[in-house]
Subunit: 117 residues, 2 copies
Amino acid sequence: MKKTKERAFTCGLDAAIAVMGGKWKGLILFALQDGPLRFGELRRAVAGISERVLILQLREMETTGLLHREVYHQVPPKVEYSLTEFGHSLNTAMASLGEWGEENIERIEAIPWDQVG
Amino acid sequence: MKKTKERAFTCGLDAAIAVMGGKWKGLILFALQDGPLRFGELRRAVAGISERVLILQLREMETTGLLHREVYHQVPPKVEYSLTEFGHSLNTAMASLGEWGEENIERIEAIPWDQVG
DNA sequence: TCGGGTACTCACAAAGATGTAAGTATGGGT
DNA sequence: ACCCATACTTACATCTTTGTGAGTACCCGA
């Protein structure tokens, strides 16, 4: 998602996309819906994401208030990520989108993606 | 959105994001929900989009089956874009996301976007 | 002293998305 | 002959996102 300075949204959908935008945030939200996860657990839960990108996404989502980061001062270190109320509410709002995707997953997989774009 | 070759989705949300991904498709879907629009009308309806990007998005959405393109052989030319059933169903699924955005738009606008990322 | 586990951080690179400005084709009206 | 409107198309530049691989800090136990 673009990071312009003027964040004047044209509608609610625009605003929502700004917050959950990109390829990964929805999946991270999804992975955290059943409770907090540690960094390593998240990495395994979100298949295919690199450590670097995961951290970047987590930082953004912390800044936007979607999730909470809890550090346990132990050795080895332990950090738990969990959804805030805000994050939970977004997750709820995205549930129907996820259902739509599951209902249509065969059709979506059949799309000739190499011709798109 | 990334265009990898292996389109194996991890869940429905992943698939849905692949289809409506990016900054603009949601808004285009939204603009078309009340009926077909011509190219120029769409450009005005989706504030801030450039002609080039609008066309790219429309082409993608045509390929993914979200919308239909009807050409009227006139001079000056007339082209109408409308949602397919598939597009309508996605729009319906995104309604709750749009509502969430509207309910939280003040909070979202208050996010320090220049510190995100 | 050395390796192990965790959660990062850094430098670098590539891929993808978006933007700008100009040009094309058409035929009707003036 | 010239301009208009519409819907693109093209070339180019830039910005954002994603990826790769290595390295860091910490303390503990062997």
